[in-house]
Symmetry: C2
Subunit: 598 residues, 2 copies
């Protein structure tokens, strides 16, 4: 039989994937949507490259939550489908995969599902395209192949069949014998995967995936409360089997472990700690560099002004709105070039913040780096980033900005222009692989930041684990990233500073005019945006010209963001949030990461 492979199985750029599949001897590929969106090649070019390599494009799956949804949603789906059928025509592929809905808006109505799939198949037929409908094991209402087939049978449409996937069938324990009752010509596609079984086993879970209290999802706090209520007064003892801890340095793991128990005693009401002092903003981000030229150029292009210069050291303060960058070229040459070395956090009570941090075993740093500096309470985060507790320009506290007497001359000619950057939206810190869970617990317990859900972002060479934390006002947002290959010297190791702007188009134009490097985003990405959303005339063209990425949440909140080129280990993101958008544009991460790899 012909043999195909989904591009998601292979690492690298789409070109690398096609080449590898062809060289191994495959006849075709399933084209994964992210691989298309992240590719700088237009669909026609992908088609001809594949053809030159002797590969057909057998399947494409850009649609989600197609069937058994409210009419208004389905209308949008049909609109998007037409665009995607056009892309498929350009790709030369004739089979569209539709997975069963997982949407909370989906309804349990087979007739509706069959009707909507029929309508979609009607449109598909005009493009010469077939719809292969597949039951996801975790589909909201349709989760078995038998159910998917009943719906296809009920629809009775010549352009509608089923797709069978061995994982979805066997992982649920369904009997595959019933497949023989489906007419072969209605099985439009067969996807194959095996899977290691132990991942589902409580024994394996216990032996590999335990973690310290507060790092996982079990309610250990309540359990401890019940045990103490029962009268137990023995030790709290950690018994954690974890593959990462087995490899990490014992000294830091032990501190992480004890911190988890100290935080647990607080949450269970056993031993109080100094009350949390929650930081509410970024006072400054400090970049250490041996070669300030590229960074100062970039800061200038972003509209920052050099507002102060340290009296005694080669350290400068750059400002725009509430965004402050400290540029430190005092240090020795860093192997990695420009890097994010420290963060100033706005704190309601810096001294109390440091006392709480110390009670949770945070390494406390000297209050002064040098004798002449303003004293600042400071700690080191698990990744080594120095965290200063600041009270910027608040009369009752020492003010760190006083270390930077104003510059006589503005650094850039364009100071007359109104700045479009208003502050620091968030800071993303790449963690060493064995400190990721530790860092989440650290920032949660020490700074009382709330961790958001952990997400996996697809980089072309592996998954990038990412987890945001923020205070309740979202004035301070940190994003912790874990690179797939922590040793690699590449984009996934970069730190970044996301600057908030109230006019991302003006900011983008300013960067473009100044000749600053902007990240190039492929045209396929914008074609997909166009299929997903309706924009005002010209809007998408502007995004395309400036490399602006776009996301919209389910409440209509919008997120526009763009990326500068990387300097050393650091790049800047410009973000504009409207309508209460709270995320970080994770949906665009794979396109961005692929672009940074190029």
């Amino acid at each position: 039989m012909r043999k195909s492979i989904a591009t998601v199985c292979l690492s690298g750029s789409l070109t690398e994937k096609l080449t590898a599949a062809a060289r191994a001897g495959f006849d075709g590929v399933e084209l994964f949507e992210n691989d298309l969106l992240a590719s700088p090649l237009p669909p026609e070019e992908i088609r001809s490259r594949a053809a030159d390599l002797g590969l057909s494009i057998d399947l494409y799956q850009p649609m989600r939550d197609v069937e058994a949804v409210p009419e208004e949603q389905f209308v949008r789906t049909l609109r998007r489908a037409r665009r995607k059928f056009d892309v498929m025509r350009r790709l030369g592929t004739d089979t569209l995969l539709v997975c069963s809905s997982v949407s909370p808006y989906a309804v349990d109505d087979d007739a509706l599902a069959a009707g909507q799939l029929s309508q979609l198949a009607d449109v598909a037929r005009d493009f010469g395209i077939r719809i292969a409908y597949e039951a996801l094991a975790w589909g909201r209402y349709v989760s078995t192949y038998g159910h998917a087939w009943r719906i296809v049978e009920q629809a009775g449409h010549p352009s509608l069949g089923v797709c069978l996937d061995s994982f979805h069938i066997l992982s649920r324990g369904s009997d595959p014998k019933g497949i023989e009752d489906i007419p072969g010509e209605k099985i439009f596609f067969l996807q194959l995967a095996d899977a290691s079984l132990p991942a589902m086993d409580v024994l394996q879970w216990s032996r590999h995936h335990r973690c310290f209290p507060g790092q996982g999802g079990l309610d250990v706090t309540s359990l401890v409360r019940h045990v103490v209520n029962a009268g137990y007064r023995g030790p709290l003892s950690l018994e954690v089997f974890n593959d990462v801890f087995r490899q990490a340095g014992a000294a830091s793991t032990a501190v992480d472990a004890l911190r988890s128990l100290i935080a647990l005693e607080e949450s269970a009401g056993i031993s109080p700690l100094p009350a949390p002092v929650v930081p509410y903003g970024v006072a400054f981000a400090e970049l250490a560099t041996a070669d300030p030229q590229p960074v100062t150029e970039l800061l200038g292009a972003l509209g920052f002004r050099r507002t102060g210069r340290h009296a005694a050291k080669p350290v400068e303060l750059w400002e725009q709105g509430e965004a402050r960058i400290v540029l430190n070229h005092a240090g020795t040459t860093r192997r990695e070039g420009t890097a994010l070395a420290a963060l100033g956090l706005e704190s309601p009570d810096p001294g109390a913040a440091a006392r709480r941090a110390e009670s949770l075993l945070a390494p406390v740093l000297p209050r002064r780096r040098d004798a002449q500096d303003t004293p600042l309470d400071a700690i080191a985060a698990p990744d080594g980033t120095e965290m200063f507790f600041c009270a910027t320009r608040r009369p009752e506290h020492p003010d760190w900005t006083e270390d930077f007497p104003p510059c006589a001359q503005p650094a850039q000619a364009e100071t007359a222009t109104r700045g479009t950057i208003t502050g620091i939206d968030h800071v993303a810190l790449t963690q060493p692989w064995h400190h990721f869970d530790e860092a989440v617990l650290f920032h949660r317990a020490v700074l009382e930041l709330r961790p958001h859900e952990s997400v996996d972002l697809a980089d072309p060479y592996g998954l990038l684990r990412s987890r945001a934390l923020s205070d309740d006002t979202a004035g301070l947002r940190l994003v912790l990233n874990l690179a797939p290959d922590p040793e690699a010297q590449d984009g996934t190791r970069a730190q970044h500073i996301a600057l908030a702007t109230d006019d991302i188009i003006a900011t983008g134009l300013r960067l473009l005019t100044a000749g600053a490097g902007l990240l190039e985003i492929p045209a396929n990405y914008y074609d997909d945006l166009d299929a997903r959303y309706e924009f005002a005339p010209g809007e998408l063209d502007t995004y395309r010209a400036l490399g602006i990425l776009y996301d919209r949440d389910e409440h209509g909140g919008e997120f526009r963001h763009l990326y500068t080129a990387t300097v050393g280990r650091v790049f800047f993101e410009l973000v504009q949030r409207t309508g209460g958008y709270r995320g970080y544009g994770a949906v665009n991460a794979s396109v961005r990461l692929a672009a940074q790899r190029r």
Copy 2:
């Protein structure tokens, strides 16, 4: 409350673990049995080191399958317990953890469980020791804390209480509120762990742990048969989400992928391949080295004789019984020192074996390395090891040994002594991390070897994954290992050749007399052996003197093995199997790996 940590949470030697726990500020530790057995320190010394560091030893858990077992088994348990209570006295710890039985011989009888636990508690009381009984989430009959408490209550023994573990309670979804119904003084110990939840989720399973057909545990073959029976004639398409494949090189992943489909087509009866030609033994193992001196000394000490020398190249043949080592110092200097470069496999039909390998995409190597060599069919395994299909001294085939004309002089004086080594028992090959599953499928499909269960071996700095494969006669056994940190230059990266002996004591004595380096095994290991088994007088002393490790399977089969020091990347194991023992002494691996780290 006092805070403890199980030594298993931390990496390194026991001394490193204790130091890290103390420095972080813990009050005590749970001593994991493997950490004790692998430590060269006697229990008294561990006790005093811990005390010097301000740590108590709060718990010890050397026992398994204690309760609700047949009387004859329980008698052995009591004998072992007395030895362990003595060790606990020397350690200065007073609480023994007993986990609920998982043994297939356990019975569902709470009264029996309570009675046996009472008997154990009686003995414990004489040593001033308490028994803390814990329900494992996967206990055979006792898997909830409520059930464990009912048994403890029924026993009504002052030295018997419960141990609560947050993982075992919360992972099963038990309500921890019921803990408050247990009197606090009967809760002898509390173990805490959190756990990441997604490990149990089918979505996460699907997104991270899929693999190519034949590499996991799903019956993809039957499913494909049903699909073909239904009349489907479209492509077989792989859709595999796997964290490792995302990072591995696309070219080798694509070959691995296509091989899985070719093997699947064969097993599902779709397309036949050249019939399997199963190798049945190791013809030779080839060591490449730039500095032959240490290896030749070791081979001499092992009783090998240099029997031949290649006519044209600095390559030697060393033999003893059916064990043949080819020592090649022709190559350029290898960065890693002596390494295992090639294996000769005894094959019933070398040409046919190569044809099957080629049909499964194995890279076929030139039949002659040099013009004057005997032609041999050869392929490269995924880890780069060259595999030669041999017919050693079989008249109808070319004989590779003819390339090695006999040496005029025996290399060692001791040729008069009868050799005790009879052949090569198995060869262990360390795999690059992204080729492990590929290698298992390769050896299974190409050589038709049967994979055994995958096991995780505890190295002090991480888990070592290990999977054996063998032919049905067990004439050829390969062990594939995956080191926890594939970049580390340490013992876990070593390859090894296990030599079969019919008299391991004589072999050990010979090595000792020759002054060859033997791996030093801690006294604690032998104390534990003594607790587990009864040996003939003097037997254990001999094992202790020679560093012989011991295992016994459930059918009474016995395994005795010892290890030489490591030369370059290679060491030798000597193994003696009796009574049909089929394993590899995995139970001893953590002690061996810790010893190799020292």
